[in-house]
Symmetry: C2
Subunit: 446 residues, 2 copies
């Protein structure tokens, strides 16, 4: 079993990048150097273009010669079909496994190749792994939608009539997707002048800056033809993997602008992604599927095109921490789980294309803010501080309702079994790396 | 004056593509042949990669060597700055003008080059001119917003409180942008079962399929850095040109899904664009600017960042016609004008980036449905048939409330002065070509 076999690469026990993970990303050896496709194992970033060039991936059936070579993003690889993803993953696991089989020792036995392909993660720059054609954001946590609805419309009308019938979503802005580590500028925009919208608006820096804890599904496989809806049967083969996502939100701008066409400038200034895409295969093989959501979707039962008794989400443990400019360590303010979602990524994908919408490899589907039922699992400051009415303590000296300049928001996500029955070591951890960004002060136009 | 000089290329008097136009597009000589950048003059499509390769554009300062050569879209050209757009346009006008100047006769005097570069428009395939990174749709006609608001909320609450303060817009789906001539499949999706949303929804073909008459602005120039808002001063140098756009809309899907995050599957199945981008320069040089919108925006006066006393929209005449499967000619059902918009494209662009959103070359900004004040100027069936209550006659035998399978929707747009005082010929026409598509029957998933 891959999850118990050990690697000749040193993998610290708490590493996100065990042999059971094999995530995909993009790095450059110097900040402005050429971008290359990579995987991660332990503290090493592995240049896949070098491995492909050296012939280490020749045994993968169907892998195109330029899947990694000459590519600055993972789009070409992600456009392949699931059997190619699977064979590539297996071959990479082979190459990193301690073994006596010569064919699998191609990298282990070649120190020159290792020197060319392996980099210390601390020494490289990580980049957006994809050229995202279209990015969509859903709203699929029942607890999040209920919390927000309760705040703005009262408990009795918290969920809109459509919410339990379809995964509500909207098209987002792909031009401002950022990889973890890039600072986010506090946006300026139109804010309500008073609580009364008839008073009009003022221009100024957002006063109610927020994060949203999300997981983004990466669409893969060949695009469907326009007019051809995807079905639940297709869905699994069209989701390559997942990354963490912070959907930064300007609540005061949002409140003024969003009726009737939805959030616009309140969301388009930045969205931060974790650098590594954890594959659907790693989550499946690791046994991290949640109980199927079908059992929860009984009142109402979804329309047939949205039903899938076999598909669910994944048991991804999630945390959000804040570290202000004056704090020496971060304080965790939210502990949540990807299983909390009511609508799963397959349902999101199928609904997205129900009208025949083209889903391209590299497209992203944000899950929506992932809130659970307990207050410590709420995935936004809006909910954690209950619209600003309950400051969240960060340290003896500090608390937050919404985010302040200099705050660093740190999201983490990982899968790990708690029992160790079938392995000698710790159960392998399948982690996402970090999704973090610091907030810079606004620069109003004068 | 370019608009009066005549070309050695035969230009029929009613041609959209006069010497004063010089639009930009992408064609292939055979349906699946290589795509190439082009301009149009009269009935000819002119291969710009051939002209650039032959050295005909060497005199344009700043034009990159691969602006057209080897490009399948106009993105590389559009990413240049306005002076390069202007010099390229002038050089192309020169090359097509009757003249005794040898330098300007490079194409005229070289029949082999003509043979390689010029194609009959009837014999080529036209393609999407751009790889659109992000596509945004606005809602900037006061009459359209008032009509829709009156139908759904009554006359007194027709305009939402924010509408007169900012150009309301939302992010759209770029994966289903189509060039004119591609058929559009009637979408299936979730529809309200009864008028009462508490009854839930059914799955089925859209029953209330609609068009929206729009003009899309093409963003050009180098992208702004994330976090750096564009100002009105920047705006003009960031709009390369315009094309016609049909924002297909499924009204029954829209009504059920759009609260609270806006239109999603009701809009993402197709958006049709005209193949030719008419440049801002052609509209400016032709003297087609509308009276400035500043004079109309007094109650309320927009916030300073949205004010520009010098900028306006353009006097683009617009028509929509329908031809059903049984009709031998089309019937014009809408006559409108781009000047009708309350918010102009510069205001849309500046508002879009007020939060620091990155605007990339090749991005599209849909204007929103362009309705005027008279019923024959309404830019959608929703308004023309007033929510289906007033069938629109097409012929003695047919009328429409919403669109039926087999209907061809034909949008046209052009600029032309009515007087001929400064030219012997007809005043030159600056047209967009046609933006048309036929509706195919739905294919429900069983
Ligand atoms: Ca969100
Ligand atoms: Ca529209
Ligand atoms: Mg966002
Ligand atoms: Mg559309
Ligand atoms: Ni001649």
């Amino acid at each position: 079993m891959a999850s118990c076999s050990s690697s000749w690469v040193d993998i610290p026990p708490d590493s996100d990048f065990s042999l059971a993970n094999i995530p995909f990303g993009v790095f450059s050896a110097t900040p402005r150097g050429p971008k290359r496709c990579a995987t991660a194992i332990g503290n090493k970033v592995v240049d896949l273009s070098i491995l492909q060039e050296a012939g280490c991936l020749d045994s993968v059936p169907g892998l195109s010669a330029n899947a990694f070579c000459g590519q600055e993003t993972l789009n070409a690889f992600v456009a392949h079909s699931p059997p190619v993803w699977k064979e590539t993953r297996q071959r990479l696991q082979e190459l990193f496994t301690k073994t006596k089989d010569n064919n699998s020792r191609a990298l282990h036995d070649n120190t020159l190749l290792q020197k060319a392909a392996l980099h210390d993660m601390d020494c490289v720059s990580l980049h957006l792994p994809l050229a995202v054609g279209d990015y969509t954001d859903f709203y699929s946590s029942r607890e999040h939608a209920t919390n927000v609805g309760t705040m703005f419309r009262g408990k009795d009308n918290a969920l809109q009539p459509n919410w339990l019938h379809l995964p509500v979503g909207y098209h987002g802005r792909s031009s401002t997707l950022q990889v973890s580590g890039h600072a986010v500028r506090r946006p300026c925009g139109q804010l309500l002048q008073k609580e009364d919208p008839k008073q009009g608006s003022i221009y100024g820096p957002c006063q109610l800056l927020d994060f949203e804890l999300e997981v983004a599904a990466v669409v893969g496989g060949p695009a469907n033809a326009i007019g051809q809806a995807l079905t639940m049967e297709h869905a699994k083969s069209r989701i390559f993997g997942y990354c963490l996502m912070n959907d930064w939100s300007a609540r005061d701008i949002q409140k003024w602008e969003y009726v009737p066409l939805g959030p616009f400038t309140s969301k388009n200034f930045a969205t931060t992604l974790s650098p590594w895409i954890v594959t659907t295969l790693a989550l499946e093989e690791g046994g991290f599927a949640c109980p199927t959501s079908a059992t929860e979707q009984t009142n109402p039962v979804p329309l047939p095109y949205l039903q899938d008794p076999n598909y669910s989400s994944y048991d991804i443990q999630l945390t959000v921490a804040i570290q202000s400019a004056s704090m020496s360590t971060a304080t965790t303010i939210c502990t949540s789980n990807f299983c909390h979602l009511y609508w799963n990524p397959a349902q999101q994908l199928v609904h997205h294309s129900v009208t025949g919408c083209v889903m391209n490899p590299g497209d992203l589907l944000g899950s929506g803010t992932i809130s659970g039922s307990t207050p410590n699992s709420f995935g936004s400051m809006l909910e954690l501080s209950w619209k600003g009415s309950r400051p969240v303590p960060l340290s003896d000296a500090e608390s937050r309702t919404f985010l302040q300049d200099g705050d660093k928001i740190i999201m983490k996500g990982w899968c790990q079994k708690s029992n160790t029955s079938d392995c000698d070591d710790n159960p392998p951890r399948i982690g996402f790396g970090v999704c973090e960004a610091v907030i810079l002060p606004a620069t109003p136009v004068t």
